[in-house]
């Protein structure tokens, strides 16, 4: 499942009710919002996306990962809009027969997501804000 949503991501809503009997590894990765970045105190984040393209790119990444690492399951959920501290902006769920493939897949997906998926993060501080990813504010 690929999803870009304005709603809060609650892991509970995405837990596997049934674990695949051919899986030996099930991994839930949550990217959560820290209260600090590059020495600055972060109050909250806002994510913006070019949704149509982001979905298309996530779909490409997902198909590649499932095929390369023979995953039994792959879900990628990204939140957009305002995300408060300690809330989840990204949830990736992977399962595979052996753990090695789950780890390789999830690291590839996050790396690739941060390279090619059109989603932008703006950090809000006590004294202003900054778009992340530009040359002034490397991610």
């Amino acid at each position: 499942m690929i999803k870009i949503t304005n709603d809060e991501i609650i892991l509970d809503d995405y837990l596997n009710l049934k674990i695949n009997p051919n899986s030996g590894s099930l991994l839930y990765f949550l990217g959560t919002t820290r209260n600090n970045n590059l020495g600055k105190k972060v109050k909250y984040l806002e994510y913006e996306t070019f949704k149509e393209m982001a979905i298309a790119k996530l779909d490409e990444i997902s198909k590649y990962a499932v095929s390369k690492w023979k995953l039994n399951q792959l879900d990628i959920i990204h939140r957009i809009g305002r995300v408060n501290i300690a809330e989840t902006s990204l949830l990736i769920i992977v399962s595979s027969p052996h753990r090695k493939e789950s780890f390789l897949a999830i690291e590839y997906i996050v790396d690739e997501l941060k390279k090619i998926v059109p989603i932008w993060k703006k950090e809000f501080y006590t004294d202003g804000s900054a778009w992340i990813g530009t040359s002034d504010n490397p991610n």
Partner: protein, 80 residues
């Protein structure tokens, strides 16, 4: 022909617009389009790092724009 160019994130904020419509001659490349944008939107000239997508796919500067293409200027992404 006319094309729509979309802006996002910092670009959208600084230009204060999410898209503009531009009239183009035939056989115009993305490289040409960038020059046109720089003339049309002086602020655009100072943006130093972005990719360009046509119809949801990244394309090189030598891509020749076709009628009906949807062009998006993609600032450095920072999802995750």
């Amino acid at each position: 022909m006319n094309v729509i160019v979309k802006f996002f994130g910092q670009h959208k904020e600084e230009l204060n617009k999410s898209e503009i419509e531009i009239e183009l001659k035939d056989s115009v490349t993305l490289d040409n389009l960038i020059q046109i944008l720089k003339n049309k939107e002086p602020k655009f000239a100072k943006f130093d790092s972005y990719a360009i997508a046509v119809n949801l796919n990244y394309e090189n500067l030598n891509y020749t724009i076709e009628d009906g293409d949807e062009i998006a200027i993609i600032p450095p992404v920072s999802g995750g």
